[in-house]
Symmetry: C2
Subunit: 205 residues, 2 copies
């Protein structure tokens, strides 16, 4: 993707995050870009297309972060931990884009987003990609359970709970507070440590 | 609160959850109630007041669920577990109201909600009540850490991570799927088990 398109998507993501899909106009995005609407329409036919591209980029960034972690050396729990760590960091790094992904999920749920058939198909594809993402974690959690490294949990609920712990950062994380990658590393590590070993009584073993 | 007011709030919560604060009108709520706008205006002066009352009721239900758990017998981790369990169940029981609470948090963050001074003060009070709620868990987690029952975590991040794990159910839970209190009990237990002991390698002790 060209840097011009990335810049448009980043500003659009800010507008969608702050105002929501319905209250955002192409005018708002152009104003934030300090450019003309023409520059946006050159790449995106409509506000809905722009929203989809932000959503698609948000999902692509999550996959790009987590897929390498799927291939680290170690037992099944070590791999799962690496995946959660990568996901936590990606949620912080791409706070604005991932806010829009979450919004897309809700619009889809309540049937309030796009209105044409092709748009509905696109949104369904984006939601399917989210399910595939969750699937990476489900397979890994199942492997860890199989290896006796995980409690006997309902894998689907356990994965939703783990991912939710990281994704809720959409509600409290403030990107302006720690701009350095190192600060985000520390935060991601604290979140994952909480999930992995924070709460089990030490004496229970 | 009278049952008539509770009914208005419940329908308003549905509208706000599905359409968002800005796209919802008093007309929408009246239509869903199958009643006149007059019935709503008899109790609430404006859409914003109605939104605040839903938010307030959502917070009240969380406190009502978790406060008794703060007083259970047991060590500091047992109490923390009971509190998380009560919170998980309350999030499922009050899915619609808690969706609106989360929306209020975002409106406050982006300064997009109420516009008058008294309204802004009310929203700030509601946000402060949310901080107090998180404070219950922070104090309990600190007590558990003090007692050596919790890893050496940053308490603030750990609590946000734990609560997020439960609160993310706003994005995936479907109340229509299990209407019975027993089914919600099972689900709440699975979520809390994931947080408390799901992921720590058994051999590590």
């Amino acid at each position: 993707m060209t840097s011009s398109k990335i810049e448009i998507l980043a500003k659009a993501a800010e507008c969608f995050m702050e105002q929501g899909f319905h209250a955002t106009s192409i005018d708002d995005v152009a104003r934030r870009l300090g450019s003309t609407k023409g520059r946006i329409y050159h790449h995106y036919a409509s506000k809905t297309d722009l929203f989809f591209e932000v959503h698609r980029e948000g999902m692509a960034r999550l996959f790009a972060a987590v897929e390498p972690a799927c291939a680290v050396d170690g037992d099944a729990l070590t791999v799962l931990r690496a995946m959660l760590r990568a996901h936590a960091r990606a949620m912080l790094d791409n706070h604005t884009f991932e806010n829009v992904v979450a919004q897309g999920v809700q619009l889809h749920r309540f049937g309030l987003g796009p209105t044409t058939d092709p748009q509905r198909r696109t949104l369904s594809e984006l939601i399917a990609s989210r399910d595939a993402f969750e699937g990476l974690f489900k397979r890994q959690a199942a492997a860890a359970r199989q290896a006796g490294l995980l409690a006997e949990l309902d894998i689907s609920i356990a994965v939703k709970t783990m991912l939710g712990a990281l994704q809720w950062s959409l509600f409290w994380y403030r990107p302006e507070a720690d701009r350095s990658p190192e600060a985000r590393d520390v935060l991601a590590e604290q979140m994952v440590t909480t999930i992995i070993e924070g709460l089990r009584p030490r004496a229970m073993g």
